[in-house]
Symmetry: C2
Subunit: 113 residues, 2 copies
């Protein structure tokens, strides 16, 4: 990447892309699944549930936390994580924008496909 073109896009587009990036790894999907199931929220259990080293899982957790999708708190010797549903749902609903655009655009001068 020669130059940083990121600033040339809309804030909305960057935000949605960043959310997608946070989800764009099977490990992070798997972590969210585990947390959604509420079977486990303790770091060690998450590590056992994944085919990755502890350091790697910790890094993935950090990324999910950085964008706000999960919250983490230290409980004595262990760390506990859980999904922030408010943030999660807000991001997911943003995908609806595309469908809304299509709905509003239909009936007008239609393009070629």
């Amino acid at each position: 990447m020669a130059t940083n073109r990121k600033m040339d896009f809309l804030a909305d587009e960057i935000a949605l892309a960043d959310f997608a990036k946070a989800i764009a790894h099977p490990a992070r999907i798997a972590i969210l699944k585990l947390l959604a199931q509420q079977k486990s929220c303790i770091c060690g259990e998450i590590v056992e549930g994944l085919p990755l080293a502890q350091a790697t899982v910790s890094q993935h957790l950090k990324e999910l936390k950085a964008i706000g999708l999960i919250k983490g708190s230290i409980e004595g010797k262990t760390s506990c994580y859980c999904i922030d549903w408010e943030v999660f749902n807000q991001f997911v609903s943003q995908f609806g924008v595309f469908a809304d655009l299509a709905k509003n655009a239909s009936g007008q001068t239609q393009a070629c496909c």
Copy 2:
């Protein structure tokens, strides 16, 4: 990455992560927005709507097409793209899985958060 751990995850998780990866760039978000608005579907117009070189836009279009989110057809001298809503909606609805898991899990032995 020393080894390819991708195969150690579930197919569902990989598929959803791949979709997220396809969306995980402001340019590809912007392209989908343009196509959803149906203002333009011709490659050249998309290029003009983005702060990127033609070669780069073509690459992004290729990625979106590879995962099936958009369809492309050659119309004479130009190329025409449009969103495959069936694929798009199918992917988006997959995010509901997390919420469903949480719903089913609630009321049971709850974890720490």
